[in-house]
Symmetry: C2
Subunit: 396 residues, 2 copies
């Protein structure tokens, strides 16, 4: 009687594995600045709680396996406002963007099939790939290029006979990179030439700060059913705990597969779907003020990094993450040390070690992912902790 190889191979989250040390630090009375996880502190819009409170059914019943129709309609309307021709029949509501990842891998890959992705990448792609028996083929993006795509030939070299899809994330977690339209076009051309799906995780669509506008996979009609959009309400409306996301595809066969996958787990949470309905009409002003706030935060983190001898990072164009190189040989050990042994005026900082965002062994060992999800004053104190922590760590 023992676990499966798969059961052992699902990796711990690099974002969460240091949590026990953070908990111990808090028990000792140390304030921990959480820059390890993409949990925004932006208040959840009141309308969400109001709608939840207005739920008047006597029974909290199962909903439709593809999501409630009004929610699918609301999601489709959101995409149409952005200029993409999405109908509610193209949307399957998922239990968080997480399930959108799992459903798409399950529907397009058999065990042993491959997906080309770009490292560093959102670490949980790897967890879901292990679950689905899918092999991720990472193509390396370099900090020297701002983690933008390498030349087409480098991507092509990773595509083999069992490759079923290209998987991207734009704006990117963990790098903050926003793919330019010409980069997207390269991927679109490759997907068509090589008979692949182009799976695009756009959970951070509304978080773009630079001059590079966001380009969605939905902006390329020539992709047809090859385009699979993974999305989430978690970051866009600061409702991470609601577990509401979606997968968008115009392919009826794929939608049927998503429906059957959805029927297996019956439905996404009903009450939180009901609440989410109130979020979808939110537009313009809300996103602009949120963007402006994250823009300030990004700049605060970049200023903090610039003041650290030996640290380096390029300025991210979107999302709310930055990958930074630190003058340490093992960032994981340093992050643990920050929680277990360091404090500055009763405070310390929690970061996500970089190697967890790479599939290739050895990469990312001197990197950390910083999530700038706190207000500027806290970020400034967190970055001071990082600077002084590095100095103390070097002197041990």
């Amino acid at each position: 009687m023992h676990l499966s190889t798969r059961g052992r191979n699902v990796p711990p989250s690099p974002i969460r594995k240091l949590v026990p040390f953070a908990d111990e630090a808090k028990k000792r009375g140390v304030v921990v600045h959480h820059l390890n996880i993409g949990q925004p502190d932006v208040p959840t819009p009141e309308v969400f709680f109001e709608r939840v409170g207005s739920f008047r059914e006597k029974v909290l019943a199962y909903g439709h396996s593809a999501g409630s129709l009004p929610l699918r309609q609301g999601m489709a309307a959101y995409y149409r406002r952005l200029g993409y021709p999405v109908g509610d029949e193209h949307v399957t509501v998922t239990t968080g963007g997480s399930e959108a990842i799992l459903f798409s891998m399950m529907a397009i890959c058999d065990p042993g099939d491959e997906i080309v992705c770009f490292e560093p990448f959102y670490t949980n792609y790897n967890s879901f790939a292990v679950q689905a028996g899918v092999t991720l083929r990472p193509v390396r993006c370099s900090p020297d290029d701002g983690y933008h795509l390498p030349p087409r030939a480098a991507i092509e070299a990773a595509i083999g006979p069992r490759t079923r899809a290209l998987l991207i994330c734009t704006p990117n977690n963990p790098t903050g990179t926003v793919l330019r339209r010409d980069e997207m076009q390269t991927l679109v051309d490759l997907a068509i030439a090589k008979d692949l799906f182009l799976v695009s995780d756009e959970a951070y669509r509304e978080f773009v700060y630079g001059e590079v506008p966001h380009t969605s996979v939905l902006a390329f009609p020539e992709l047809g059913g090859r385009a699979i959009l993974l999305d989430s309400l978690s970051k866009r409306y600061s409702v991470c705990g609601a577990r509401i996301g979606c997968v968008v595809s115009s392919d009826p066969e794929l939608q049927r597969s998503f429906l059957h996958l959805g029927q297996a787990r019956l439905c996404s949470p009903s009450l939180e779907q009901h609440g989410a309905l109130g979020l979808l009409p939110i537009e313009g002003d809300y996103f602009q003020s949120t963007q402006a706030e994250y823009h300030r935060r990004r700049d605060a983190v970049m200023r903090g990094l610039a003041a650290i001898p030996g640290a380096s990072a390029r300025t991210p164009e979107g999302a709310f993450y930055v990958m930074a190189r630190l003058p340490v040989d093992d960032a994981g050990r340093f992050c643990e040390w920050l929680l277990r042994e360091f404090q500055l005026d009763g405070e310390t900082v929690m970061l996500a070690p970089g190697d967890g965002f790479y599939a290739t062994p050895g990469l990312g060992r001197d990197e950390v992912r910083i999530a700038y999800v706190l207000e500027v004053a806290h970020l400034e104190r967190a970055m001071r902790c990082l600077r002084e922590g590095l100095a103390a760590y070097a002197k041990r």
Copy 2:
């Protein structure tokens, strides 16, 4: 560019696949009595909505990947009240009992491994097995034995070198059978002798009407880490839409694997976990009155079946389902006909075709699953629709 074999093989839910015909019937003004799905009409306890309404955090944030600590503690306390030595470290909160099924299959099976189950079985075991690349080896239980277990030798014959677990459901969906203690002991002995997990889905634990008490997998300390309990709050407290369940195991390695699977999808819905906390102290009176109500309903359905020429069913001991044999050669076609072509005084009935609950082709074609989840007056009208429908169907 095409779906995976897996993507095509995840079956549609036999419980839900006739929904489009039901929707059309409703559009024509026909009242559809839903006996197809285990969606109780029992009101969700007010305390759930009160707690949800009292949520006062400004941000609906991610929770712990294993579930909120108070919820795990509350679940453990519930099991201890039943007499089982469960600590909160033995409980992982899952997004519905559905996810408990998926997590357990993922953690104990590699693709190609096998699980022995007992048919007819909860149809979604099959959907999750397809997702996890697991082969279900069905052992047939006969209506003539009240769907109780066949002799030990028949079970042993299904166990092969790749078998990793025995999977049971007690009280059973779809048969309502409650396994006796001696049957459970046979399974326990087999699991130990053959080095297998014993995975027990006990979502209907609190719904037992006969003289056979429910025996949990947790009642056998000799199983140690071989015991895996799958559970759900959905039916117990009529909160199907909340998507809160759990998986219980005393094996730390298995719990670690559940944690990592949980980290991949971040967390179960936060607000509904918060609401569920209010449900766990509910005891005695609530379950007794719910049981008494379902007992009456069961008896109403059995009376209705007894009045139908050529129909037969044994009286189920628990849950809220009965598998009934009908005098038709293709129950699926008959169920569709009931929705598309039949009505009695503007009403009809929706049932789940039986073959979807079997893995062996050809079995269950003259059976339906009836969920007695409506009040007695509605059940009586639904059974009248079934009786008159069968008579009209025979005369077509």
